[in-house]
């Protein structure tokens, strides 16, 4: 066995005019955890998808365990003992853990499935690596953290020796993140190698042995973990020292513009998603709701904008009861909502920007008169918004899908803000955006707050919550654990609340 598990040499990959990977080289030693750091869009996932055989490089070579290889498909990657846990799990939800793991594997009882033997092996491996998995559980019954462990177990089962983890911690509580790192160390002790893709500095510093930093498709630095600092890494990642220094007006929050009183609601599967949620958002403040994704945030936004019915409780806009009113009434009463998935809910990807800007107010003056659309007014509006919000696009006719993620989010932002809302709900507004766009969006939210808008910010990014909020609420399994004033809030405490523990000093 050689020193290096994987050596990637001068890997280049283009998507049309975009150079996603530009002559990147990376060396992964056996028995080490290698961090791949970079902001969103830097090319980390592309590079690993090449290693995993999902993409073919335009140029460059790969060596696995000393042998030059061509990895044309995930099947070949698996034969080379390379495995990957993606951000969006590759698990079939109605299947059991066992079925997911044996999927595509030859069976001893061909052509029939042999689930018994597989189940036994799964139980053994689960115990060995402390994964705590029940083989007969169906994926839809599992929590996100548990499902992720199934993915890891799947790789162990397949004798993966080189494991790629793509942003594994975005869906975990701080406690679960610690457990994941333990599992990684167990695997490393077993001689396996791990590549950890992330944009989070604390994690990379906590668990890796070596770090490679990507920026705009290029490798900008490579260093042993114990010989670098946060600042140095940030500088490599972003090209400058980012301090996220926002201009923050002093405001005095006014009356409540949005109130939830003991709101309960069911999720898509009929299970409770919100339990007796109560809070209020005041004029001129940002109420940040911290929580790991999947704890009811989506349902909360929907309930507050009329997209989901409540099973009990009340929703107020100002003093008026808007419980279970249709979405149109919320919109007509100056509520703006930036949804979590801009590509599926917030924008029509196939439609031009001009149309996307007016989807909520096309039936009002000046965009329409007596039932007919006013073409010139619609175009003028688009031109104004594009300029005002500095949206990089070829023209107003460009389709939304032609824009970058950051610019797409700007379109949503522009639309929502230009309606002069009194309440603004923003759900994961900077998810998947690069630093520049992230800064812009966060400053926008602060500006709105300065203008007296009541902002409900929902985010799994604790940095974001702490930077922007006046008060912080924590949501866990559909319950509001607590609401704390920002000056009194500490990271540790909030992290614990996010994991569901209310008591002081509890693990």
């Amino acid at each position: 066995m050689t020193e290096y598990a994987v050596r990637m040499r001068k890997i280049t990959k283009r998507f049309g005019a975009l150079i996603a990977n530009d002559h990147i080289s990376l060396d992964l030693r056996w028995g080490s955890i290698h961090g791949l750091l970079g902001e969103n869009g830097a090319g980390k996932t592309t590079l690993m998808n090449i290693l995993y055989g999902l993409y073919h490089p335009d140029q460059g070579e790969i060596e696995v365990d000393g042998h030059p290889v061509r990895i044309d498909s995930p099947l070949q990657a698996m034969e080379l003992d390379i495995g990957m846990v993606h951000q969006h799990f590759m698990l079939v939800r109605p299947f059991t853990v066992t079925e997911n793991i044996v999927l595509g594997l030859p069976s001893a009882r061909r052509p029939f499935l042999d689930l018994k033997a597989a189940t036994r092996r799964i139980e053994e491996l689960s115990a060995k690596y402390q994964l705590k998995i029940d083989p007969s559980a169906r994926i839809w019954q599992l929590s996100v953290g548990e499902a992720q462990r199934v993915e890891i177990l799947k790789n162990i089962y397949l004798d993966t020796r080189i494991l790629i983890l793509d942003e594994p911690t975005t869906v975990l509580t701080p406690q679960e993140i610690r457990e994941l790192f333990e599992i990684m160390r167990l695997m490393k002790a077993d001689g396996k190698s791990i590549i950890l893709i992330t944009h989070k500095l604390e994690e990379i510093l906590a668990v890796t042995d070596e770090i490679s930093v990507l920026r705009a498709g290029k490798l900008v630095g490579n260093t042993p973990t114990d010989r670098t600092t946060r600042n140095e890494l940030t500088r490599m990642m972003v090209g400058r020292n980012v301090l996220f220094d926002f201009s923050r007006k002093r405001t005095r929050p006014g009356r409540a513009v949005l109130k939830a009183r003991r709101v309960s609601a069911l999720g898509d599967k009929g299970l409770p998603a919100l339990r007796e949620v109560s809070f209020e958002v005041r004029k001129g403040e940002i109420l940040g709701v911290a929580g790991v994704a999947g704890n009811g945030q989506k349902e909360l936004c929907q309930v507050l904008s009329g997209l989901r019915p409540v099973t009990s409780g009340r929703v107020f806009l100002g003093e008026r009861d808007f419980t279970n009113r249709p979405p149109k009434e919320f919109i007509d009463n100056q509520m703006a909502y930036i949804p979590e998935d801009r590509q599926e809910t917030g924008l029509v990807m196939e439609a031009g920007l001009t149309k996307n800007f007016i989807i909520k107010n096309f039936d009002r003056r000046p965009f329409s008169r007596r039932g007919f659309l006013n073409g010139p007014a619609v175009k003028k509006n688009a031109g104004q918004l594009i300029e005002e919000f500095n949206i990089k696009t070829v023209s107003g006719q460009a389709r939304a899908k032609e824009l970058s993620g950051g610019n797409q989010q700007k379109v949503v932002l522009a639309r929502e803000i230009s309606s002069k809302p009194k309440i603004l709900i923003a759900n994961q507004p900077t998810h998947g955006l690069d630093v520049g766009a992230t800064e812009y969006v966060r400053q926008c939210l602060l500006d709105q707050r300065g203008e007296g808008v009541g902002v409900l910010l929902i985010s799994a990014d604790l940095d974001e919550i702490f930077q922007l909020s006046d008060r912080i609420a924590v949501i866990f399994k559909g319950e509001i654990m607590d609401i704390i004033d920002r000056p009194d809030a500490q990271l540790e405490l909030v992290g614990r609340l996010m994991a569901g523990s209310r008591e002081e000093g509890a693990a």
């Binding site: 997209l307 249709p326 039932g371």
Partner: protein, 347 residues
């Protein structure tokens, strides 16, 4: 705003693909004919002559084109909203039934009765289409299946009516109703032909629908078609819009039925719709759901039908060749994507 040259540059890429699709369909159809022992050149020559051979024949084309245009317009509205209305035949039929019933049973002077029959036709088609719309919005019932089932049901209802309650007592037991009053029938435009005012109606409808897409209702229907999720988020009442879309689409099919009854047959007959509903789908798709394009597309397929009938009579080549060409045209139209994709991959 746009120069003449600019206009042409925009029309050509829009017109070329459908033309190629049609050409390919004829080529493959020709190969099929050879395979089965027929002479394609002879067949196509007969087809052409059968369609354009005389003034009368050309008028026949326009006669068939009128209901086809109106049907295709209605279908294009539903399709743009991603609601797959395959029920043109059924909505056409029920619209015709309503209008004839009104014509034969309501005692009003013709000046009032005529528009009433028109409204009744719309109402009938709207009702039949609305059922499918409601089933889709309330029960998520696949509209392809429901509209198809409603087609069959409508045909049976018509069959029962023309042999039963609405049968012409003086009709010697034929499955048909009495004739509607002369004053209600549409004027003939060219003497000694069957060409009636329906073609004018169709053209008027094209203009109406062209402007329909510039209304807020049109925008709403289009938005629902682009993304139900975004439409809901934007505050649109999606279930209501879906039903409304089917009501309009079905209503237009009903009008097409009115056109056929009050322009040609002047009574209800068994199998009135004769597959127009399916043909209209092909017409609409070939025209890329564009109202102006539908005129040309409908003309082409009507020519195909008129020519095909002659071809069968004169050369013995089965009319089903026309069905085959229809199917092939759809296939080539929707396969067009593969060409642009292939071009893109090579760039």
């Amino acid at each position: 705003m746009k120069s003449g040259a600019g206009r042409t540059a925009r029309i050509l890429p829009a017109v070329l693909p459908p033309l190629i699709s049609v050409l390919l369909a004829f080529i493959v159809g020709g190969l099929l004919l050879i395979l089965l022992g027929y002479n394609p050149l002879e067949a196509y020559a007969m087809l052409f002559r059968g369609a354009f051979g005389s003034t009368n024949r050309i008028c026949e084309i326009l006669v068939k084109a009128a209901p086809l245009i109106i049907l295709a317009l209605g279908i294009s509205i539903a399709f743009k909203s991603q609601i797959w209305n395959i029920g043109g035949d059924g909505q056409f039929t029920i619209g015709a039934i309503f209008s004839v019933w009104v014509a034969l049973n309501v005692g009003l002077p013709p000046v009032l009765l005529a528009p009433l029959t028109f409204l009744a036709a719309f109402a009938g088609g709207a009702f039949w289409g609305g059922i499918a719309g409601l089933l889709k919005s309330r029960f998520n019932a696949n509209e392809v299946i429901t509209t198809l089932m409603l087609n069959y049901i409508a045909v049976y209802i018509l069959g029962w009516l023309v042999l039963g309650p609405m049968m012409d007592p003086a009709g010697h037991g034929f499955p048909q109703t009495q004739l509607v009053g002369e004053a209600l029938r549409m004027p003939i435009l060219i003497a000694h032909t069957r060409l009636h005012g329906g073609i004018i109606l169709a053209l008027i409808m094209v203009v109406l629908i062209y402007f329909f897409w510039k209304t807020t209702l049109g925008f709403r229907i289009e938005l629902v078609g682009k993304s139900v999720k975004v439409a809901r988020y934007a505050g649109i009442n999606v279930p209501r819009t879906m039903v409304l879309t089917m009501v309009i689409s079905g209503g237009m099919a009903g009008i097409a039925g009115w056109c056929e009854v009050f322009g040609i047959h002047y009574r209800l007959l068994d199998h009135l719709a004769a597959g127009y509903g399916y043909l209209a789908i092909v017409v609409a798709l070939l025209a890329d759901l564009n109202p102006i394009g539908i005129i040309i597309s409908a003309f082409f397929f009507s020519a195909l039908m008129v020519g095909g009938a002659t071809m069968e009579r004169m050369a013995g080549i089965p009319f089903s060749l026309v069905d085959i060409i229809e199917g092939l045209v759809i296939i080539f139209v929707i396969s067009r994507v593969i060409y642009t994709r292939w071009r893109g991959d090579r760039a």
